[in-house]
């Protein structure tokens, strides 16, 4: 046994690109744990996350934020907890909290996360995202899984002009290319 602590490699090499009207940044500070609700276990899980993080269960199309923790709907009986690990909060500690009330799976490594922000963000997304991102239909906090350039993607609106875009880690370069191309091609 050799002690060579392994270094984590970001999916997109910590990419950070600035375009005329938007900025694209890889978010490597977000940990993800998927949380499945056991049959007849909704109440217990809801009570637990309320108790521990002050978080409510998210609706089908809206993520919820409480402090450092964000709950993102994934499926009818599954959500994702997204958080920035710090002293008290880690993938292991979050999973440990939920052992008795949910089925959790480490998902941090399954996804690459891009933050897209700026006045041109929605114009760039218009080229790849089939969803209606009008603030009336997709307000702050809204979350949806969809398909962009043939890749599964999860889009979350943080603010009017700030989005998180998540896609599978193995195809992250293709996803980045798609978003980057949109930013470049829609730059005024």
């Amino acid at each position: 046994m050799a002690d060579i602590p392994l270094t984590a490699a970001p999916a997109l090499g910590d990419v950070n690109l600035t375009f005329a009207s938007c900025v694209l940044t890889e978010r490597t500070d977000i940990a993800l744990i998927s949380v499945a609700t056991p049959h007849a276990g909704y109440e217990a899980l809801a009570a637990k996350i309320k108790d521990v993080w002050g978080l409510s269960m998210p609706g089908a199309s809206a993520s919820l934020n409480a402090g450092a923790m964000r709950a993102i709907p994934l499926a009818a009986d599954q959500m994702m907890l997204a958080f920035t690990p710090d002293g008290g909060l880690s993938e292991t500690s979050v999973q440990a909290e939920l052992t008795d009330v949910a089925y959790t799976t480490m998902q941090t490594d399954a996804w690459a996360i891009i933050e897209l922000s700026g006045a041109g963000a929605t114009a760039a997304l218009e080229r790849i995202c089939p969803l209606d991102l009008d603030p009336q239909t997709f307000p702050n906090g809204a979350a949806a899984r969809t398909m962009m350039e043939h890749l599964g993607a999860l889009i979350i609106r943080l603010e009017a002009d700030r989005f998180l875009l998540m896609s599978a880690r193995s195809s992250a370069q293709s996803f980045l290319h798609a978003v980057e191309t949109s930013c470049r091609w829609t730059a005024p």
Binding site: A60, S61, A76, G152
Partner: protein, 95 residues
């Protein structure tokens, strides 16, 4: 086409995968010779009407729910969309 997902609202059909006749929910349970005939019909015989059809669609690029979509195959009009899980339970499926 657009499928009005019962939980998520209208979504482009491109997010979905089509399977076919919703009768596939009615899988004969059990094994051995007594279910062979029923299983033969289940596997090989499908409704394929020119008109209203109950179909299974899978929201693969979405929330991974299976849906029962009632669609007119002549006009593509979709008259109802339900979670397949609810339909399955209604038809008596459980464990």
């Amino acid at each position: 086409m657009i499928i009005k997902h019962p939980l998520l609202g209208p979504r482009d059909a491109a997010e979905f995968v089509y399977l076919g006749d919703a009768n596939m929910i009615k899988r004969p349970e059990g094994f051995g010779e007594n279910v062979e005939e029923a299983m033969y019909e289940h596997v090989y015989l499908r409704e394929n009407p020119a008109g209203e059809h109950h179909e299974l669609w899978y929201h693969e690029q979405g929330d991974r729910s299976w849906l029962v979509v009632t669609r007119n195959t002549l006009t593509h009009e979709i008259s109802s969309v339900e979670l397949a899980r609810d339909v399955a339970r209604r038809k008596g499926r459980s464990k």
